[in-house]
Symmetry: C2
């Protein structure tokens, strides 16, 4: 039984005409291949990565497991379409709070067309991408117990300033949720140490790898941060690989720089939360 994923927070949704991703009950995530070269490139990345023996095990766990491609009935009922078959990374989490963060101060790549370059750099300068080295692309937060869900709309998310982002990162780990298109200016950060403690440990593992890996440059990829209610641990996954290019002997300094900036932001919240508890 395929259904529309409940916990997607960014990227291409199924809407009206357009096919979107699907999930099944076996923990698989079906992502329709984007029609242009992006679909082909994302498949090429997963094939390269999943067969690459130089990926350390502690790094492989940050990527969704790849189960090949499959033609299935598209979510918009337009008939069988090719889909990437991936691990549904949040499948085992109850009420997962999820945040999608696009990492890197630049989302375009050297070989991009002038059109693509112009489109991206406008977004990079218009969002926090250029200044912070990352931007929040979407999020969904569950309140304590049954206190509801906060899922800001796309337009509101796109309007986040650098100051907003600092606050959003706090709201993500707080029990006193904002309502509607606003942020809670006094988030309690009550999950900061559990959630960001675990996430920072994982981001530092990733950072270490990015300091030396010269195989892939992850343009316009995201880190997905999520944690379930109850005992499930906070996790980090990398997603969206339609613009991964060959690193060709150079580290991905763009992704690495953004990752370090995100790490510093989360460390600051952790430090502050720690001081609050003293």
């Amino acid at each position: 039984m395929l259904r529309i994923p409940e916990h997607q927070v960014a990227g291409h949704y199924a809407d009206g005409d357009k096919a979107g991703p699907l999930v099944d009950d076996r923990g698989r995530f079906y992502k329709p291949l984007q029609g242009d070269e992006r679909g082909v490139k994302e498949v090429a990345f997963y094939e390269s990565f999943s067969s690459n023996h130089e990926i350390p095990q502690n790094i492989r766990k940050f990527f969704p497991v790849f189960h090949g491609t499959e033609a299935i009935e598209a979510s918009n009922g337009s008939g069988p379409q090719p889909h990437l078959v991936l691990e549904d990374v949040v499948a085992n989490h109850q009420n997962p709070s999820v945040m999608d963060i696009k990492v890197g101060a630049r989302t375009w790549y050297p070989q991009a067309s002038e059109d693509y370059f112009r489109k991206c750099i406008e977004k990079d300068r218009g969002s926090t991408t250029m200044e912070l080295g990352f931007r929040v692309s979407g999020l969904k937060v569950y309140g304590k117990g049954s206190s509801g869900i906060w899922k800001p709309g796309k337009k509101f998310v796109q309007s986040f300033t650098r100051k907003d982002v600092k606050l959003v990162l706090k709201n993500f780990v707080s029990s006193n949720l904002p309502t509607g298109s606003s942020l809670n200016p006094r988030p309690d950060c009550c999950f900061a140490s559990t959630v960001y403690g675990g996430i920072l440990f994982q981001l530092l593992e990733l950072k270490k790898w990015f300091e030396t890996q010269t195989m892939y440059h992850f343009c316009s990829s995201s880190v997905l941060l999520f944690f379930g209610q109850g005992s499930s641990l906070a996790q980090v996954k990398l997603v969206d690989f339609a613009h991964v290019i060959d690193g060709d002997g150079v580290i991905d300094h763009n992704f690495l720089g953004g990752l370090c900036s995100l790490i510093k932001h989360l460390s600051d919240i952790l430090d502050e939360a720690g001081k609050g508890n003293e």
Copy 2:
């Protein structure tokens, strides 16, 4: 007695009409204030930095000592002009080999005018800046004993591709110098372990600071790498601060990313040289 510095490899030279830097015998370097806001901004940076108590001692040593400003006779004889008075960082080195590397995948800054942005991004995409996260702006290398000097011309330096840069970084620590406008395709890297060993240690100290410092963003600044003949140790200094802006609570992910890329390049050369000696 003021004279034109012998070991400058990049930046604004004295030529014809234009005033350039001067040095004296007491180890001071006089840099004419650039007429527009750049001069003002560079003075402001040195004043802020030299009185900033949050700069750790092990980081302060990477910056030229600041001795204020002084009106002195300009190098082009145009009368007394205001100059920055700085430490002449290579003064104590005999026949110093020097390389100026502009760090960061982006040399412009968010608040820059559209004109400045366009000018910079064209250079960043046309040089190795965007791809490698740094570009070589100039260098001068002394051969072993009296085997001469290699100082490639400005046009040649500006034409360096990413493959050239890898070779230039090897030529910088080799005794078999290139001649004229070419690179030696088989550099012996005989100084690699002494020079890059010492330089890497210092770059890693800097990296650590850049992972957490959120006070300054160094747009279009350079690291100067240099070593003298004989026993003098290889050194690293940061220079050129006309485009430093307030970090405002965010790390300088642009400089940090480029620095990490440079570190990886030098580590690779060190590893290769080590293997060659086994």
